[in-house]
C-alpha cells in the first residue's frame, strides 16, 4: 500500500507517546507531525459517507502559498532599500540584493514559527486536542507586517502575546475574535512605538551606517505625507520599491496572492472587493474636502500605499475574525475600507490605519452578523404571523 512504510514508522513509535508512555508530554507534537506526513486513514462513522478532499490543513497551506510572492519580494526589497541607502545598488548583483534580505528576514520567520508553534503544541497537549493549523498562516503573516529592524526578542514577545491572549484564551483556532497576526502587530505598535513607527525603522542599514548617502531619509510615503513633503513615485509603490513593513510594500505581489486566493476560492471576494470600494469611496470624499497635502493624495494612491493592500487581501479575509454572513461580509469590508482611510488621513498619529481599522471591524463583525441573522429571523416570524 502507498506510503505504508511511513505509517509503520509512526505506528511503531505511537505507544511511547500515548498515555503512560515515556514521551506522553509530546503527544501533540507527535500527532502534529504524523498528520503533516500523511492524511490519516480514519473513515466516516456516521452521517455522510463521503467527504470532500479539502481539509483545514490544505486551506491554511493555500493561504501560506498565496503569501509567498510578497514574502520573496519583501526579501528582495530589504536588500534593494539597503543598497540604495548606502549608494551601492548599481554595483550589486540581483542575488546579492536578494540574499541580503533573505538572511535578515529568515530569522524573523523562524522565531515567529518556533515560538508560535511551541505555544500551540503546548496548548494542544494541555487541552488534549489535535494541533490546529491556524498558526501556519499567522506565523508567516506576523513577520511580513513588521519593520525589518524589529529585534527578534520583540517578535517572540509579540507572537507569544498574540497566541496566548488573542487566540488560546478564547479557545484556539476558530474561536478568536481578533486576527492574531494583527494583534501581534498592534501589541508592538503600542508597546514599543519607537521601533514600529518613525522614519528610521523601515530600511535596514546595519553596520554600514557610515556609508549612507546624503539626502537619504528612510521614510515611507505615508510618513512623508505626514510632514507634507510628498515625494514618491506611484509606480514604485505599485511594484513595491518603497520602504515599509517586510511584506506589505508590493501591491503587485499582493495581487498575485489575491488572484491565487480568489481562483482557489479560499479568500472571500466579497470582503476584498468591498474593502477596496470603501477605501475609494472615502478617498474621494477626502479629496473633495482636502485642506492639507495628505488629504490631497489622489484617492486611488491609497490602495498602493502602506499596508492597505496587504490588509485587504490577507488580514481582512481571515474567515474566523471576519463577518460570516454574505451580507455581513459586504458591510464589514466596506467599513474596513472607510475606517482605514479615515484613520490614515485624518489622524496622522496613526498612518497605519489599516491595521486598526481591521481590528476595529473584527470587534464589530459579530454585531454585523447578528443584525443580518436577525433580519432572517424577523422574516420567518413575519411569515408565521401572516399565516395564523
Amino acid at each position: 500500500m502507498k506510503g505504508q512504510g511511513i505509517k509503520n514508522f509512526f505506528d511503531k513509535h505511537r505507544p511511547k507517546f500515548e498515555k503512560g508512555g515515556k514521551l506522553h508530554p509530546f503527544q501533540s507534537v507527535f500527532e502534529g507531525f504524523e498528520t503533516f506526513m500523511y492524511v490519516p486513514d480514519a473513515t466516516t462513522k456516521k452521517g455522510s459517507h463521503v467527504r470532500d478532499y479539502i481539509d483545514l490543513k490544505r486551506t491554511m497551506i493555500f493561504v501560506v502559498l498565496a503569501v509567498v510572492p510578497t514574502m520573496l519580494f519583501g526579501m528582495y526589497n530589504i536588500g534593494y532599500q539597503h543598497y540604495h541607502a548606502i549608494g551601492e545598488f548599481a554595483q550589486t548583483s540581483f542575488w546579492q540584493v536578494f540574499i541580503y534580505g533573505l538572511i535578515r528576514v529568515l530569522p524573523v520567520i523562524v522565531v515567529s514559527y518556533v515560538v508560535g508553534l511551541a505555544i500551540e503544541f503546548t496548548f494542544a497537549q494541555i487541552k488534549g486536542h489535535e494541533i490546529n493549523e491556524g498558526y501556519l498562516v499567522s506565523g508567516i503573516l506576523i513577520p511580513l507586517v513588521l519593520p525589518i529592524d524589529t529585534p527578534l526578542w520583540m517578535v517572540a514577545i509579540a507572537v507569544a502575546f498574540s497566541v496566548i491572549i488573542a487566540k488560546e484564551a478564547f479557545g484556539g483556532t476558530g474561536m478568536n475574535i481578533w486576527n492574531p497576526a494583527l494583534i501581534a502587530r498592534a501589541f508592538l505598535f503600542f508597546a514599543y512605538p519607537s521601533h514600529m513607527s518613525g522614519d528610521s525603522v523601515w530600511v535596514r542599514i546595519g553596520a554600514d551606517a557610515d556609508k549612507v548617502v546624503d539626502g537619504f531619509s528612510g521614510a515611507t510615503p505615508l510618513g512623508m505625507a505626514l510632514t507634507g513633503n510628498i515625494d514618491y513615485n506611484i509606480w514604485d509603490a505599485f511594484w513595491g520599491f518603497i520602504p515599509g513593513s517586510i511584506g506589505e510594500t508590493s501591491t503587485f505581489a499582493i495581487l498575485l496572492g489575491a488572484a491565487f486566493l480568489l481562483i482557489t476560492g479560499i479568500g472571500s471576494w466579497r470582503i476584498m472587493l468591498s474593502t477596496v470600494l470603501g477605501a475609494l469611496f472615502t478617498g474621494l470624499i477626502i479629496n473633495a474636502f482636502a485642506v492639507n497635502p495628505f488629504m490631497e493624495i489622489p484617492f486611488w494612491h491609497h490602495l498602493f500605499l502602506g499596508g492597505f493592500a496587504f490588509g485587504a487581501v490577507f488580514m481582512a479575509t481571515d474567515p474566523v475574525s471576519a463577518a460570516q454572513t454574505p451580507a455581513g461580509k459586504w458591510i464589514y469590508g466596506f467599513l474596513i475600507g472607510v475606517m482605514a482611510i479615515v484613520i490614515r488621513v485624518l489622524n496622522p498619529a496613526y498612518p497605519e490605519g489599516v491595521m486598526l481599522a481591521i481590528l476595529l471591524m473584527n470587534t464589530f463583525a459579530p454585531l454585523i452578523d447578528h443584525y443580518v441573522v436577525q433580519a432572517n429571523v424577523k422574516k420567518r416570524l413575519k411569515r408565521a404571523a401572516a399565516n395564523v
Binding site: 500523511y38 490519516p40 473513515t43 455522510s48 459517507h49 470532500d52 478532499y53 490543513k57 476558530g174 474566523v320
Partner: protein, 447 residues
Amino acid sequence: MSNTIKIKKGFDIKLKGQADLSIGKAVDTNRYAVKPTDFLGLKPKLCVKADDIVKAGTPLFFDKSQPEVKFTSPVSGKVVAINRGERRRILEIEIESNGKFESVDFPVEEIKSLNRDKVKKNLLESGLWPFMVQRPFGVIPQVNEMPRDIFITSFDSSPLAPDYEFTLAGEMENIQAGIDVVSKLSKGKVYLGLRPGSKFSTLKGVEINYLNGPHPAGNIGIQLHKIAPLNKGEIVWTLNLQTLLYIGKLFKTGKLNLERLVAVCGSEVKKPQYIKAVAGASVKTLINGNTKNETNERLISGNVLTGEKLEENGFTRLIDNQVTVIPEGNEIEPFGWIAPGFNKFTAGKTFLSKLMPRKSYVLNANYHGGERAFVVSGQYEKVLPMDIYPVYLLKAILVNDIDKMENLGIYEVVEEDMALCEYVCSSKIEVQSILRNGINTMIKELA
C-alpha cells in the same frame, strides 16, 4: 397551474457507478427483515415471535407511542429470528420468505367513495403509514393530526439515485390512484415536485412545481421551503413516488406489494444496474458477487450522503430504493494535504481536478482530514438552497438554545437537507448528527 423554480445553490457529487437503465437478476436468498431502527424515535412493541407464520401485511410490531401505527411483513413466510442489540433493543425482525408473496387481504373500494378515516385505517393496517414522513422533524406521521398539505417529490437528486422515470415507467395508473388516495388525508393542497420534462407531469389532482437545479432540488425539504414554507405549529405529510405507487396498488388490488426496482450502484459494483426486489431484502439478494473487491468496501443502503452502513449479511432499509458500494478508503495518503489532486473530486476549487473535469469520480469513505472548529465561512450556504443560516442554526443547537433553534429555522430542515453541508465541510463537522440532536431536543420540548 405549474411553476418553475430555479435552484442555484446545491451541488451534484459526480460519483462513478451510475446504474444502467437495465434490469438484472436478483439472487434470491429468501431472507428479509424489518428494522425498527429505520424509523426515528420509534419504540417498537412486538406482535410476533420466532417461528410465527406471516403474510405480506401481517403486523410484526407497532409503535408504543401510537399503537395504531403498525409495521408489517413485506413478504409471506416465517419469522426466523428477532435480532437484538444492546439492552435488548430490537434491531431486526428477520423473515424467511416462502417464495409465494401472499398478502393479507385488505378492503378494496371505489377510491372516489373512500373517506379520510377509511384511507387512514387501510394505510395503518397495511403498514404503509410509516412510509410517509411528517415535517417538521422527519418523523412518522401522527395519526391524530390534520396536515396542512401533502408534499410529493417525483425525483431523487442525491448521488446515483434511482431514476423514477425509469423504475416507475408504466405505473402511471397506480400512481394516480395513490394520489387520489392521499389527497383525502388533508384539506389542503397536494403538491408534486417534478424535474422539467418529466413524464409525471400528466398526473392529475396535484399542484405541479418544476424544480430545476442540482441536488438537493429533489428533497422534499427544499421543495417545501421554496413552495410553501413550514411555520411553527404547522405540519405536512410527505411521500416519494415509490411510496405513492405502493399505496395506489394497495387500494386498487387489496394486496400489499412492496416489490420495486432497486438501483445497485457505486464505483465498486461490477455491473451497476437495477434489480427487482421486495423492500427489506437482504443486501446479498441485491449485490451477491457483483462487487469488485469484497473485503475493503463499504455497503450502503441508500445514497452516500444519508444512507446506512450495512454489514455483508445485513438488510436494506425498508424505505430505500438504492444500494451504493464505495471503497472504504481506510488508508493513509502521504502529504495528501498538498497534493495537486488531479483525480480528487471537490466542491471547492483547490484541486487540479477542476481544470480537467471528468464525468465521474471514485470517492471513498475517508474523512480526508481531522475534525476542527468552524473556521471557513460561506461553505454551507453554497450548498443549501434555503433562506437559512446553517452555521448559526448548528451553533444554536450546540449551545442547546431552543428559542434560537426555532427562530433560525429548525422546523424547515432534516438531516438529508443539510447532508451536503457535511460533505463540503473543511472542518469535518458532523452536521447531520448535530442537527438530529437539535431536532430530538425540540421534539422533547414540544411533547
